[in-house]
Symmetry: C2
Subunit: 535 residues, 2 copies
């Protein structure tokens, strides 16, 4: 059973290797575990629903608690401490588009707002209203709108219900020899509709495509009506409305189904690894690789600090010592950068891509290592979030954030964001452990993915205040560095204050007009994406 106040299944939390805990204690001090609230206590404290008696809604307190938060760090702090000043008044589980419209009708009648909810994996406050929101809220869960609804095998176009989870999606395609290849870290718990609404990016998106490239068309059901987006392979017929729906985060309506572009499952996939001598040479090699036009499906370049953390998390200190010794012999170190690459395709294409990466890396002083790091990555690719549970239990808060910027600014952005986080709690004498990697390499630039760890405070409000300081410092560093406020996590409520800096006042006015057209009464997910009242 999935735990109600974290990521993993109950009891399935990863163990944090001793080596990693030692490293963390040395870096920022020993962890300070805090007691958790129990599910029963939290459920018992749920206030009465303002929507009791409305048809087709669940107002069960347990149901409301399970849909009260996403997976952001503030969400975790709320759940672990049991302090939930805001909860939805009801949960709806529409099983058809008519049902979705019926939910809108109830919301209209009851003057309520509607929060679309896929897998509840938002890490940016996508499914949670602020405390004290005056209107009753219906969380519209898409779980009953799931499954493969149509498959055009010749074209590889697969129509899925919004609530389909990642593994169910690939399992439905597998018998047909097809693959979508969209693997965000949240893949096991996230839904197709959420991917579209939040502009999801998968780990292998530079090969298989981001969701904005895979989403050929589909349907949006809005209070004002339904938008049908036909799945043309490409079109010059005016502005692309799909690209307005992608990233709309529930403000325009509910994405009920998505027509996705699948491809034949590649016959071969390789995940080789290299070490580069230092971060600056890693950056140069990464840029050269990205601009070479090589057919890769993933390329991930870790800072030396992340490289060290990953090795520690591998939990095999003997092997790591041997690896380090060997790297020194090869002239790589003492602060090497790990490069992980995936190539997916025909046997020959994969071979060629790996060979050409190797020759670029060698030119920059790097050296290839055996296949175990690649296998480790493949094995852990969806399990890493479980570490959040384990670290929390050990008294540490861990969070991630990300951006993207052009190559000429990526080095400065990485430095600026990591520096802002590392020193962000100096005022209260707390240290922060920070590391990062480039997760998606593009011809014109790269994404940057940063992980930071700090100690829990005695009080949940104080822990949240630490997070707020760090998040603000990092967001300001992203803006100062010219990066987008999000490459892959979306905007939600946490990033909403920064959106206008990218879109400009005219752009924000356009988005507001569009929201009003789809949702004239502004009942849809108020506060997410666009900062405005639901009124």
């Amino acid at each position: 059973m999935r735990r109600w106040n974290g990521w993993g299944a109950i009891g399935a939390a990863e163990r944090v290797p001793d080596e990693a805990l030692r490293l963390l204690a040395a870096a920022i001090g020993p962890g300070r575990p805090r007691p958790d609230a129990t599910f029963e206590d939290v459920v018992a404290a749920v206030p009465a629903s303002r929507l009791d008696g409305e048809s087709g809604l669940s107002t069960e307190p347990a149901d409301r608690v399970r849909h009260a938060r996403g997976q952001s760090l503030p969400d975790w702090i709320a759940l672990r401490s049991g302090r939930l000043p805001w909860l939805p008044d009801a949960v709806a589980r529409p099983a058809s588009e008519d049902d979705v419209m019926a939910v809108f009708a109830v919301a209209q009648r009851a003057d309520a707002v509607v929060i679309p909810y896929g897998g509840g994996t938002s890490v940016v406050g996508g499914v949670t209203l602020a405390a004290g929101d005056p209107l009753p809220a219906i969380t519209l869960a898409t779980e009953a709108l799931a499954g493969l609804q149509d498959l055009d095998e010749e074209s590889g176009l697969a129509t899925f219900g919004a609530g389909t989870l990642g593994p169910d999606l690939e399992a439905a395609l597998q018998p047909h020899g097809l693959i979508l290849g969209h693997f965000p870290q949240s893949w096991e718990r996230a839904t197709v509709g959420g991917w579209v609404a939040a502009r999801s990016v998968g780990q292998q998106s530079i090969g298989f495509g981001r969701i904005d490239e895979l989403f050929a068309g589909g349907r949006l059901v809005a209070p004002a009506g339904t938008l049908e987006m036909p799945p043309f392979p490409a079109s010059a017929a005016g502005p692309d409305l799909r690209q307005l729906i992608l990233g709309s985060e529930g403000r325009f309506g509910v994405v009920t189904e998505a027509i996705l572009r699948t491809v034949p499952r590649p016959p071969r996939e390789a995940v080789p690894a290299w070490f580069l001598p230092d971060w600056s040479r890693a950056l140069v090699a990464a840029r050269e690789m990205a601009r070479s036009g090589l057919p890769l499906s993933m390329a991930r370049v870790s800072t030396p600090a992340e490289t060290e953390s990953l090795l520690a998390l591998g939990g095999r200190p003997g092997r790591v010592r041997a690896l380090r010794a060997w790297l020194r012999v090869r002239g790589v170190g003492p602060e090497p950068s790990l490069l992980l690459v995936a190539a997916s395709g025909t046997e020959k294409l994969v071979e060629l891509a790996v060979r050409e990466v190797g020759s670029i890396v060698r030119r920059h002083g790097g050296t290839r290592v055996g296949g175990s790091l690649g296998r480790q990555w493949l094995g852990n690719r969806f399990r890493t979030p479980n570490l959040r549970d384990a670290l929390w239990d050990a008294g540490y808060a861990i969070d991630t954030l990300e951006s993207a910027v052009d190559w000429s600014r990526i080095g400065a952005l990485a430095k600026g964001v990591q520096g802002a986080l590392a020193t962000g709690l100096e005022a209260e004498g707390e240290r922060v452990h920070v590391f990062g990697h480039l997760s998606h390499l593009y011809p014109s630039g790269s994404s940057l993915y940063v992980t930071y760890v700090f100690r829990l405070a005695d009080d949940p409000d104080a822990t949240r205040e630490r997070w707020r300081r760090l998040k603000t410092a990092a967001s300001e560093a992203i803006v100062a560095g010219g990066g987008t406020i999000s490459h892959q996590h979306g905007v939600g409520r946490d990033h909403a204050p920064y959106l206008a800096l990218e879109k400009g006042p005219l752009g924000m006015a356009v988005l507001d007009d569009v929201a009003r057209r789809f949702d004239p009464d502004r009942r849809m997910n108020p506060g997410a994406l666009l900062e405005m009242d639901a009124s």
Copy 2:
């Protein structure tokens, strides 16, 4: 000097090979040349401008005639016959964004409309108002907003003024070892701003990217203000406003500059050719190629009728006879389909891609031919439009149209559109010569590009009426076949009646809201894209 009433330079019209004229005469009857109006006579007949005396505008009759039409067939009919019932009242040539805003101010004061004009290469009525439009019109030519304005070599991000022509753009990148790789057939005369505004697709866009993939950001100057679009490599920060500007066809404002994603010039390019035994096997092979993930920059599959026409246009009947004899020996024919492929990249990547295409083609009974067809295509890739001048002089009208649809429907779409054209003038006893090709192969489907030739009528109005019947029949066949009304030409005024079928009423309302936000008085390019009055 570029001719005022056609495509090519004056005197540079291609000669139509005798073989091709024979084929055409046999197919649809001998051509019926019509006399042209002279530039002098047309200029002499230009009515007085309603904007005489307004500052910063040219109201010279010759200038107004040269900006009166694009390159659609109705535009040609108007120019060749000298019947121009609508002309702009003035031409503006802003050299800065302030100048653009000054033009808007003049338009406001004089209650005029503004028609952005790049290279004037629209083939869908993108720059021409209907006869009898009540408001004076200013054609805003972007020619003075041209050139490379900024280059971030590390990221390959190149900022160009909207009026930059294709050859000038590549010439500015060439010393830096960079290439954009955007080569629409109109490349020599079309502009960066026009590409963005009309969602242009280049011949090698499956490799280098369509303009919607190459346009990283830039600026739109609208009556309501300026929209700045930052050039992130990718972003999940809400809906993508660039994708609203792409395809906006001047309705939202003027794209003044574009930040484009360039890449290192590939060290090698190959353009091999194969013949497939028939159209149905060509379709199967094309689909397999497109879904294989091979790194190609072009793939073009001609119907047997186009294959025959291309061979005839090559103008070397002896060689064609030898080729046909050789194909028969190889078991290909008598109605073969030509497949042209381009691969661009490193030596080894190109080799591999060509080898893998070869093995797919062989599985479907195809055979490779020597390099002359590829060289012929490379040599003629921007010259084919000149044939329109030559055919017109020989008494024939030639036009093209295009669409895109998924693989499961492409065969029926090709048949439907070509059939509708072939029989479209039966009522008046005229025949139509029709051929086509798949021009852009995508994993989920393909574009379809169709050329049709018919004889000029005695009277230009009657010729236009022939075009109108054929265009309507083809557009209805596109809609019936599930295709987009345009894969690469855009919407303009000719396709505007079909746009709502793709976007739906809610989608059209959204586009209308956005237009109103950027251009509250609706002065921008009225009638293009969205069917509505400028009032």
